[in-house]
């Protein structure tokens, strides 16, 4: 059991999200940085889709009420377990009464805390993710509050005494450009309807992440994107990654909690494999869009899968070694 001692707003329980309920209007929800959540789970020997905590704003303090394996992935937040500093992308064992403090991130935007076996809350519509708008999933469909107690499902995995970690994905996975916040985009149905200058600007500009950015979407600021003729579309399905451009000409990237349908013109769609990079961009950071096609997106997907499979194998080997040498 973990007790929340102090928390910022908008800390939620998330897994990899809901699938199969789009036609009832239920968005994917789930971790904004699904890669960090998956890694956090693999470090602990969990299924990669076990539920963890998504922590977007810091600091946060919590206390372990019993011994428990946990991991921290995502943003590097100068975490302290008691007086012991913890590296990012690291799993270790907490003792009963240990206090974990997560401080302001040095880089990145969202921290993921995973626990042995995953967080134990009921599945609703096949997922434990918190659906903030419709208030279900997680704990009563809401963000965590001081005093909340969270139970772990638990597992019998033994970690090396010193813990186990991995190279962060920002280092391990090639970025699409020279900046870590470059994300790959497949042009969408209305791409050709933008004028030449707007299409050129879309690929070349540094798009500033505004403070009006959250789990539903990131509003960006940059050159105005103009259509060659006005478009009023028939509403259609929208997935995380769709870059809509409302009448003001400033793009909005739809993300985990976005509406499942929309009718604004869309200039492109960020590929799934790069959505985690957006989740770790903070207001004031710049994003750059790099053109991609479906084959490139399939390659990026395969690269991510290979990375995760390798990571799971490496971590498993370290755990087995530590157990064999009696240091787990």
């Amino acid at each position: 059991m973990i007790e929340i001692l102090s928390t910022p707003s908008l800390v939620t329980i998330q897994d990899l999200g809901r699938s199969g309920f789009y036609r009832y209007g239920v968005c994917r929800s789930g971790a904004m940085d699904r890669l960090a959540l998956a890694i956090g789970n693999l470090l602990l020997g969990n299924d990669r889709g076990a539920a963890g905590l998504e922590i977007p704003i810091l600091p946060l303090r919590l206390r372990f009420n019993s011994d428990l394996n946990f991991s921290l992935t995502g943003a590097d937040c100068g975490a302290m377990l008691g007086d012991r500093p913890l590296p990012p992308f690291w799993a270790t064992r907490a003792k009963a009464e240990d206090v974990l403090t997560l401080n302001a991130p040095r880089s990145g935007c969202r921290v993921y805390l995973c626990v042995a076996g995953g967080i134990d809350v009921p599945e609703v519509l096949d997922s434990r993710s918190t659906q903030l708008r419709e208030t279900f999933g997680g704990i009563e469909g809401r963000a965590l509050a001081k005093g909340d107690r969270i139970a772990a499902v638990g597992n019998d995995v033994r970690l090396p005494h010193a813990g186990v970690g991995t190279v962060p994905p920002a280092v391990a996975l090639a970025a699409a450009g020279d900046s870590t916040t470059a994300v790959r985009v497949i042009p969408a149905a209305e791409y050709a309807d933008y004028d030449d200058a707007s299409r050129a600007a879309f690929w070349s500009a540094d798009w500033k992440v505004t403070v009006q950015s959250n789990r539903a979407g990131y509003r960006l600021e940059g050159p105005e994107l103009a259509l060659t003729r006005p478009r009023e579309l028939r509403s259609h399905g929208v997935v995380p990654g769709v870059v809509q451009v409302p009448a003001g000409g400033q793009p909005i990237i739809q993300l985990a909690d976005a509406a499942t349908m929309g009718g604004y013109p869309k200039i492109g769609v960020v590929i799934d494999a790069d959505l985690w990079r957006i989740a770790q961009a903070r207001p004031g950071d710049a994003l750059r869009f790099v053109e991609c096609d479906t084959a490139g997106a399939a390659d990026a997907h395969d690269e991510t899968e290979t990375y995760l499979a390798q990571l799971a194998a490496d971590v498993g080997r370290q755990r087995r070694l530590a157990t064999a040498w009696g240091v787990a």
Binding site: Y24, R133, R234, S235, V238, T260, M261, A298
Partner: protein
């Protein structure tokens, strides 16, 4: 600027990012085309790699299990299935909703009247006349996209979306009208309010209405 979407001559099929595909039907925005979309959705849901087929307004989104290297296979499947021309006919559930038009719950009623060149009373009369068909469910959980709005009330979305409108808000934009199932942002014109729950995650299916069902609006009160 015309508020009505231009019709396509041919089906348009485009990748919607790495793991989804958008099919846009050619032709008019009407119930016949929508019935073909529902039939197409039923067919597509059985295809390999398709996690879900999600009807929109005379369009269909396929969500795939993983990113396909190219979407050619799906283009062929979609075109062929569309060309068969099957329509799905639904035995509709009819929902009658009492609406308070205008006032605090309908802040844009006057804007709509002005935009349409009508009086508030005429807007309400025109809006309560038709039987609206649920074309699609989405945007947020349980929300119904309704077809059947009178052309005199067609108008573009608002330039600046509202940060939040409450659940039960009745709004319209483009060729569409509907009632919010929960509080959230909106770029539409909000003209009234109803007391209704469209979604319950403990129920299966969790949405109250399905495509093909019918909604009628009754003016309980008009605050001019």
């Amino acid at each position: 600027m015309s508020a009505s979407a231009a019709s396509l001559e041919e089906p348009r099929i485009t990748p919607l990012g790495s793991s989804a595909i958008l099919f846009e039907a050619p032709g008019a925005f009407d119930i016949q085309h929508q019935r073909r979309i529902w039939a197409l959705a039923d067919a597509a849901a059985t295809w390999d790699m398709v996690v879900e087929a999600v009807p929109g307004m005379t369009n269909l989104m396929l969500i795939l299990a993983r990113p396909p290297r190219d979407i050619g296979v799906f283009e062929t499947l979609l075109r062929d299935a569309w060309d068969i021309g099957d329509e799905k006919h639904v035995e509709p559930t009819v929902l009658e909703l009492s609406i308070v038009y205008g006032g605090e719950g309908g802040p844009h009623l006057h804007d709509v009247a002005e935009g349409a060149g009508l009086s508030v009373a005429e807007v309400v009369r025109i809006h309560t006349e038709p039987d609206y068909t649920v074309y699609a469910v989405g945007s947020h959980a349980g929300y119904c996209y309704l077809g059947g709005l009178d052309a005199r009330l067609f108008m573009p979305r608002r330039k600046v979306p509202l940060v939040s409108i409450p659940g039960g808000s009745l709004s319209l934009a483009g060729m569409q009208t509907g009632v919010s199932a929960s509080a959230g942002p909106s770029g539409w014109h909000t003209i009234g309010r109803a007391e209704i729950s469209f979604f319950d995650p403990k129920r299966l299916p969790p949405a109250l209405m399905k495509p093909g069902d019918v909604v009628r609006f009754k003016a309980e009160r008009v605050i001019a």
